[in-house]
Each structure stands twice: as C-alpha cells, then as structure tokens.
C-alpha cells in the first residue's frame, strides 16, 4: 500500500468520501477542518435536509470531495435526516452516487455507544476508515485504545484525529492518500441487537482500556445544570444575559451602521443631479440596503450565544429542562432553540426547526415562530412607544415605556403558547412524541467552528432577506412616486400615486380598527417586510408633507395626527403582523408546502386584525 506519486494522484478522478457517524461525534468539526471555507451548503433534492459538501486536496495532490452526512444512530432511520444518511450509504439516493470511501467518525471517549453504528456500516461492503475523533479528550481521561488491535478486529484502517486542532486531521489525510482499503470482510445474516452489543463489548475488551471513572466533570456539572431549581435558574440567567447582550451590545453597532448608511446616501446623492435616479438610489436602494444590514449585529450576537451553547453541549440540557412545559403547550423541548432564534429573526429560527424530529412538533414550531418578537418589529415599537407612551415612572421603579415594550414581548410569547395549544387540541394524531435525546459530554467550544457557523448564518440572512427587501423598497419607491401629481395639484404628491390609490382602497378594510390611509399605505410594504414599515411611514409623511425639515421628524408628526387608540391598535396589529415575504418564502421552502405558508399568513392576519380591532374599540371606550 504505497502512496501514489504526486502527478498521477492529481490526475486521478476525485475521491468521493462520505463522513458518517453518530450525532455528537465531532463530525462537523472534522469536516470544517478538512474543507475550511471550501464547502457548499444546500439541500438534498426535494427535502429539507441540509447537504454539506466540501472539497480539498490531499497531501499527495489528489482531489477529494467529501460529503458530511447527517448524524445517525443507525441505518434503521428514525427521522428524515437518518433516512438520507441511510440512502446515500446504500447508493439509493437519486443523484448521489455511492461514496468511494466511508469515513466512519466516532467519539473516542464514547466507543461503547459509537462502535455499534460502525459495525452496522461495516456490513455495507464499502471500503471504510475508522476515525477516532476527540482523541485528546480520550487521552486526558485515561482511555487507552490499541489502534492496531482494533484495526485487525474490524478489518479496516483506524486513525486518530483531533478535529479542533490545526493539524489534527493529518493522520486521516495520510490514510486517504494510501490506496483504498479493501472492503471489510462480508458477514452473514444481520445479527440481533444483543449480538451487536456483545460484539462491541468484545472489541472494547480486546482493544480499549477505560479507567473506572471517566465522566466526572460531566457528572459534577450535570448535578447543577439538571437540578430542578438551580438548573432553571441558570437557564433564566443565561437567557437574560443573552437578551441583554443582543439589545445593549448591538445598539452602538446598529447606530454606527445607520450613520454609515446615511453618510453613504448623502455622498452618493451629492454627486447626482436632483431627479428620479437620485431619488431611486438614495431613498430606494441605499435606504433599503441599510435597513437590512442594520439587523446583522443583533442576529450575529444572538447566534454567537446559541452556537456557543450548542458547541458546549448545554443546549440539549436546556431542552430537557423545558420539555415538559413546552409539551404542555403543544411544542417540544427542541422547539426552544428555534423559538429563541426567532427573537432575532424568524428566518434562521424556522430553518433551525430541522432538528425537531417529530413532524407535528416541527410544523407547530414553524407556525408560532413568527409570533416571537423579532428585531424587525422593534423600530415600529420604538416609534409608537416613543410618540405615544409618556416617559413616566410607575410604582417609583419601572419605566412605563419599558413596561409597555416588555408587555408586547410577553404578548407575543403568550399568544404563541395559546396557538400551539390550540393546534395540539385539534390534532387528530395523538400518538407519542418521542424524545430519546442524547446529552453529550460537555466540551469547550471551538472558536473556528463557531466563526464558520456565524458566517454561514450571516450569509443566508443577507442573501435571502436582502434580495426581498431591496426589491420591495424599490417597488414602494416606485409606487409612491408614480404617477406624479398633475400641475396645479393641491393635495400632497403621494395622494396621486399608486400608493395613495392603494392606501385609500385599504382604508375601507382598516377603518374599523382605526388605521388612517397613511398607515394603510405604509402597511402594504410593511406586510411584506416589517422593517420597511417605518421607512414607508416616513416616506408617506415626508412626501406628503411640506419640504420642511420637520417632515423627517416622524414621531411628533404622528403624535399630533393620530389618536392614542389608533397607535395602540397599530401596536396590537404588529404583535401578530402577518409575516414578511422572506419568512413566508422560508416557510414554504422548509415545509415544501404552499398550504402551510398560506395557513400561516392567514391566521396571523386574522389574529392581527382581531387584536387591533379589540384594542381600538376598548381604547375608544376609555378615552
């Protein structure tokens, strides 16, 4: 088995490798280590399972393409993810050729669990290499593995890796350069679970020395983290810290971005003559772009927390603590992370529901995720609260404005629980919702992997949301500018435009809830992308008001023109605000169903209208 010479290695066709293993074996870290940024993330055709493929060049110069298959405990698939892994390994996935080599990744500190899958994969008859990942952790714990004995017993090469270390995959790379190992010897009929279990035990006895106590740190941490009182307290503190960070750390950065966008707009505007093009560029494109980028700090900070907690092994414990509560409401413990993510933006939140295995829980989570107060609602809340809620202190301690904001958050969460409960109540399929969730060992999160994860999410947010919002901003600009008012017009310019016509028409629909036509106009793009609503309002009032600089001061303007009841109704509407088009598009993608997308939009619209109606009428009664 000699390594091929460099020239012939480079000329050979690319080696197709698949990484397989249990969840929590560090497969993804290994994948990142091998491919760095040379990875492409998409979906397997026709399903919402992530397909991660990357490529690299082996030390001998050979092209290698590696597929990171979803983690699976067994080829008897219990979820869509596992079914994909099974299908690709069997060569039954249309469009995915069978891999040339299976790289079976195991957690060296947990061989008793992980070797089972290795034995199952061995029966596939594909060339295999066994990778003992996290070998540094195994060594630290005093676990000694005799690689040669294991390789002889399994009939395949065995290498050790430390995926989080810079050159930690060197031994694997060397093994890839060697000639393809023979497929492991075929065995007879599939053994029973007990037989497999005994085989694993036999292997462990022959090749592995484990000291008596290996999970001391895990146990000590879990005594507190899983404690009914302290565990929940820790979770509450973590959540509080997270939100503090998202709102206070992000604020200066967001201000900076807003200032930069404004400055850039002025710069561009100063170089162009007054007219359509300038208006389109400055008020349309640049403002639209700015309104997307400004949310990036919050999203990145939130995901920094979430990814760190996930890498550390804490998140399944949080899911465990909350599971019963969420089950009562018709969700699952695993819904926690997607819903948490939705506080920044529902789009990554809804994408995160892929980890929820039960399809009913997944759909429920997707349907209620938009009710979590996303960052895009905040400008609207801030504007309305600033304009209409007096800055008073209540009970000597609490800021009234802060209280109202908090109440809006709570309203979102409570309505989510109610909707989830209603869905559970009317559900016909009442069978068990399985949990069966592994609590992996605690690990120190690796900064590089977190950085790659953040980059991926930022990219998705910018490309998905950016495209939609840019288009919408330009569209609104167009609607608000054309047709221009005829000569001698007395009413504000916007009255004559398409936007004005649409607004007047919508006024009939929204008059019962107290929305005037300016709000109605702003709602149209606001329906499609919430963050555009404030900009739309500014446009409506600025374009329709005088050229006075005051026109840019939106708050006092609406404070003087709207009634308190209208403002409160608008706040209530926004708690439910039918979602932005980006979210709708993601829902359709993630569920492969127009029905779910339509159901989501309609129910949010209905709830929003009802809430606004009730609030308006009640507010009128009191005033």
């Amino acid at each position: 088995m000699s390594a091929a010479s460099p020239t012939s290695a480079a000329q050979r066709p690319a080696l197709r490798v698949a990484l397989v293993g249990n969840p929590n074996c560090g497969k993804t870290a290994l994948f990142n280590r091998l491919t760095g940024s040379r990875q492409k993330v998409a979906n397997y055709a026709g399903v919402t399972v992530e397909r991660k493929e990357g490529h690299f060049v082996s030390p001998a110069g050979r092209q290698v393409r590696v597929l990171d298959l979803p983690g699976a405990y067994s080829l008897h698939a219990a979820s869509l993810d596992e079914a994909i892994t099974r299908d690709v390994c069997l060569g039954q996935r249309p469009g995915e050729p069978r891999p040339d080599l299976l790289v079976s990744v195991v957690d060296a500190t947990n061989l008793r669990l992980h070797l089972r899958f290795v034995l199952e994969l061995r029966r596939l008859g594909l060339p295999m290499v066994l990778v003992l990942n996290m070998s540094d952790a195994a060594e630290r714990r005093g676990i000694h593995i005799d690689r040669d004995k294991l390789a002889a017993a399994l009939g395949m090469p065995v290498v050790e890796t430390i995926a989080v270390r810079r050159d930690g995959a060197a031994s694997l790379l060397a093994a890839l350069d060697a000639a393809l190992p023979d497929a492991p010897p075929a065995t007879d009929a599939p053994p029973s679970d007990l037989d497999v279990h005994h085989e694993v035990k036999r292997l462990l006895e022959a090749a592995v020395t484990m000291p008596a106590r290996t999970a001391a740190i895990d146990d000590r941490l879990d005594r507190i983290v899983l404690h009914p009182v302290f565990g929940l307290a820790i979770l509450a503190v973590l959540l509080f810290l997270m939100f503090q960070a998202v709102f206070s750390w992000a604020a200066p950065v967001m201000d900076g971005i807003e200032a930069a966008v404004h400055w850039f707009g002025e710069l561009v505007g100063s170089h162009l003559p007054e007219g359509m093009l300038r208006s389109l560029l400055v008020d349309g494109l640049i403002a639209g772009l700015g309104s997307v980028i400004v949310f990036l700090p919050q999203i990145l900070i939130l995901f920094l927390f979430i990814l760190t907690l996930e890498e550390s092994g804490y998140l399944p414990r949080a899911a465990f603590l909350l599971d019963r509560l969420m089950m009562g409401a018709g969700l699952s413990g695993r819904s926690f992370i997607p819903l948490l993510s939705s506080f920044a933006c529902a789009i990554p939140g809804i994408m995160a529901t892929r980890t929820i295995q039960d399809p009913r829980d997944r759909i429920t989570t997707i349907l209620v995720a938009p009710l979590m107060t996303c960052s895009a609602r905040l400008p609207v809340y801030a504007l309305l609260i600033g304009a209409f809620i007096p800055a008073r202190t209540v009970a000597g301690l609490f800021n009234l404005q802060g209280l109202v904001l908090f109440a809006l958050y709570v309203a979102g969460i409570v309505s989510a629980l109610v909707v989830a409960y209603v869905l559970k109540y009317f559900r016909r399929d009442r069978t068990d919702h399985p949990l069966l969730m592994e609590l992996p060992s605690y690990r120190i999160p690796n900064p590089r992997d977190i950085a790659i994860g953040l980059w991926e999410r930022a990219r998705i947010f910018l490309s998905r949301v950016g495209k939609v919002i840019l288009t919408l901003t330009v569209l609104l600009w167009f609607l608000a500018t054309f047709p221009s008012p005829p000569d001698g017009a007395t009413a504000p310019a916007i009255d004559y435009s398409f936007a004005g016509i649409i607004g007047r028409a919508l006024e009939h629909v929204f008059a019962p809830v107290g929305f005037n036509w300016q709000i109605c106009i702003a709602l149209v793009p606001g329906l499609a992308a919430r963050e555009v609503a404030v900009g739309a309002l500014a446009t409506v009032y600025a374009l329709s008001g005088s050229d006075d600089a005051v026109a840019s001061q939106l708050a006092p303007m609406i404070a003087s023109q709207w009634s308190l009841a209208t403002a409160l109704a608008l706040l209530a509407w926004y708690v439910f605000a039918p979602q932005c088009i980006s979210t709708m598009a993601v829902i359709r993608r993630e569920t492969n169903s127009w029905k779910v997308m339509a159901a989501s939009t309609l129910y949010l619209f209905a709830l929003g209208y009802l809430a606004a109606f009730a609030t308006y009428r009640i507010a009128l009664m009191f005033s």
Binding site: Y73, S74, H76, A78, T109, N110, R112, L113, R116, T187, D188, P191, D193, L194, D195, H197, H198, E199, A212, R213, T214, A215, A216, D218, D219, D222, L226, H227, P228, V229, G231, L232, P316, A319, F320, L321, D323, R324, L325, G328, G333, D432, H433, P434, L435, L436, M437, E438, L439
Partner: protein, 101 residues
C-alpha cells in the same frame, strides 16, 4: 420495576426492553442506543415539572427520555442508593446467547 420508577442515583441493571406494539420504533431505537439486557443503568435527573422527562445513564452515555419511553425498560436495582456513576461490575447475564456472528 420500570426505569421510570427507578429512584434517582440507584444503580440498576437492565432486564429487558419491551415493545408496546408489534413493531415499536421507540423500543428498537432504545436497544440501538445501548439499552440492552445486562447493561448498567442509572437515573441521573428528573425533569423539573412532573418529573418528566428523566435523564438515564446507560454505560457512559446520558439520554433524556420521556417517562413513557423509559417505561418500556424493565430494570432490577443492584444495591441501595449509590452515588458512584461507575457502571456496576456485572456478571455475564445468564440468558445472553453467545452465538457465532
């Protein structure tokens, strides 16, 4: 007794994993995860609300299970409450078959 009834931090050995229906995917998955006769098991933690779900340690791996899932597993306590997390040294389960693969 069932795993869902086992007191916390009491060392026990698994006797059997029972299907609730003819082809119970949960029971199969439990076996695949290492809940097999003869294996040491302990309940590490109980959920804060209604003691559901629970965290069971089998071998060196911890799993969060619903009570209904844990109820499929029949166990036998080895000794009185023990604080060690080491899987108890176990005799060869007498019913285990050592058939050639």
């Amino acid at each position: 007794m069932r795993l869902s009834e086992l007191p916390r931090r009491t060392a026990a050995v698994i006797v059997s994993v029972d299907d609730t229906s003819s082809s119970d995917p949960v029971a199969r998955r439990l076996r695949e995860l290492g809940f097999v006769p003869g294996e040491a098991v302990q309940v590490i933690a109980l959920g804060p609300f209604g003691m559901d779900p629970l965290v069971a340690q089998v071998g060196f791996t911890r799993f969060a299970l619903r009570r209904s899932e844990a109820a499929r597993i029949t166990v036998e306590a080895v000794s009185a409450s023990v604080s060690s997390i080491t899987p108890a040294a176990q005799p060869d389960a007498p019913a285990a078959k050592r058939t050639a693969a």
